[in-house]
């Protein structure tokens, strides 16, 4: 992770615009939500949202939260969609209880057609009864699971 200086470090130019533009367009996350934070780049296109003030320190392991990976397109992280889920206003798939259980254990699910009405293919926020579960990829009527393996859980109380 780059860590020099006390201000955000992001490259190549335009990445910040690309990430914030995507989050606003796809999820309705307004840019003003990120005013208090800085963006930081790590290897493999990973983009972190972290504090604005980062002292020049050796041995920094991580700054802030991994919010997206940028490889031509932007892939939002489950961390981000869980953290700001309440502020997401579009491209939300409301899961049934069975679908939420499947999602939490790492499985894909086929949402009811009403649940994806008006939602174009792409990344979505999976929600259950108002709780933001994480990121999914809507493709050909299926929600593909984007949950990192370490976060998977066999839920017993939902």
């Amino acid at each position: 992770m780059r860590r020099r200086g006390t201000s955000e470090v992001i490259s190549p130019p335009g990445t910040k615009e690309k990430v914030f533009g995507y989050l606003e367009e796809r999820f309705g996350l307004e840019r003003s939500l990120f005013d208090d934070y800085g963006l930081y780049m790590a290897s493999k296109g990973r983009v972190y949202l972290g504090p604005r003030r980062v002292p020049d320190l050796p041995k920094i392991a991580t700054i802030g939260l991994l919010i997206a990976r940028v490889h031509g397109t932007v892939k939002p992280s489950t961390n981000l969609l869980q953290a700001l889920g309440k502020r997401v206003s579009r491209n939300i798939v409301n899961a049934t209880r069975e679908q939420a259980l499947a999602y939490a254990r790492g499985g894909d699910f086929k949402p009811d057609s009403a649940a994806v009405d008006g939602i174009g293919d792409g990344y979505v926020l999976v929600r259950f009864e108002g709780a933001s579960l994480g990121c999914g990829l809507l493709q050909k009527g299926m929600v593909k699971n984007m949950l990192p393996k370490a976060k998977r859980l066999e839920l017993r109380y939902i």
Partner: protein, 303 residues
């Protein structure tokens, strides 16, 4: 569980009720968790858990903390989404002691942060704003720290992996030093604590803590606040460390460590022939049998 004779000799004279103390050490801890206010609220979580048929008891001294009568809170939707953080009650005390300061601080250090229980709590108390440096010397524990901060939705943190003694001389408004210790107070969840227990070990921890507390104090801004805490009973790791601070940094002032609704006990006045300064009485001991918790020690130091 076999309690070492020397352990009994050391502590039974310090507690009010020897029998209650020793029998409490063999009892399981109640299951507790804290609501992560970055993602949810105590009322929302309570409503959900009532729907699961789980009995929750709000902790009298901390409105965001609950004792749960069901050991399976870790399999709940709220644990999955990071709306709750499963945490032992006494471990919640250090950030709570400086809640007001954290609400105003914009530059905070958690010196021994892994696995992140207190860092996630500090970040929430800072409103997820400003900068929190969460440092830990152990590389292997950084992974758990990172995972827990991510799960809690923490944005304001920089994780560093350094020996605190070698840390740059930055100046912080608030510092938490939850020092590495002999962990005697965690015996109710870690039965193997007594396997490795020795007075030599306590002495080693004490030496490390004495270095760390001076370093942490030196990294405070003027009027800044340091919380020093351990989860052990040993006076060598608690009162003696504070005495070392006072002897070497006379400007250090201890403020009263207390919580409405939590029973705290007086610190030890002397140990192994050493009389401790009256200032140290402002620190607090928490004995397991008084509040049905783990054992703990904490002090609030102002520069």
């Amino acid at each position: 569980m076999r309690i070492p004779d020397r352990f009994r000799e050391r502590y039974c004279s310090l507690v009010d009720d020897e029998e209650a103390f020793l029998s409490c050490l063999g009892e399981l801890l109640p299951k507790s968790f804290r609501v992560n206010t970055i993602k949810s609220s105590a009322d929302e979580v309570m409503r959900r858990f009532e729907g699961y048929g789980m009995g929750l008891k709000r902790v009298p001294w901390y409105g965001d903390a609950f004792i749960c009568d069901n050991p399976e809170a870790g399999f709940s939707l709220e644990h999955f989404t990071g709306a709750i953080y499963i945490q032992e009650l006494v471990s919640m005390l250090p950030p709570l002691l400086v809640r007001e300061e954290l609400g105003k601080s914009r530059f905070v250090l958690d010196g021994c942060a892994a696995p992140g229980s207190k860092s996630t709590q500090i970040a929430a108390m800072m409103g997820n704003k400003g900068t929190l440096i969460a440092n830990d010397v152990s590389y292997s524990r950084i992974r758990a720290l990172k995972f827990n901060l991510e799960k809690a939705g923490v944005l304001n943190t920089v994780i560093t992996n350094r020996d605190l003694n070698a840390f740059q001389n930055l100046k912080f408004e608030t510092i938490l030093l939850d020092a590495p210790c002999s962990s005697e107070g965690t015996i109710r969840k870690n039965y193997d604590v007594f396997d490795a227990w020795s007075e030599g070990g306590i002495r080693q921890f004490s030496n490390v803590q004495k270095q760390l507390i001076l370093k942490a104090f030196d990294m405070l801004m003027p009027e800044g606040t340091l919380v020093y805490s351990t989860c052990t009973f040993a006076p060598e790791e608690n009162e003696e460390v504070l005495q070392h601070l006072i002897d070497n940094r006379p400007e250090a002032r201890l403020e009263k460590a207390s919580f409405d609704g939590l029973r705290t006990s007086e610190t030890v006045g002397s140990w192994n022939g050493t009389e401790f300064s009256g200032e140290i009485r402002n620190a607090a001991r928490i004995w397991p049998h008084h509040n049905d918790t783990g054992g703990f020690f904490l002090a609030k130091v102002r520069k």
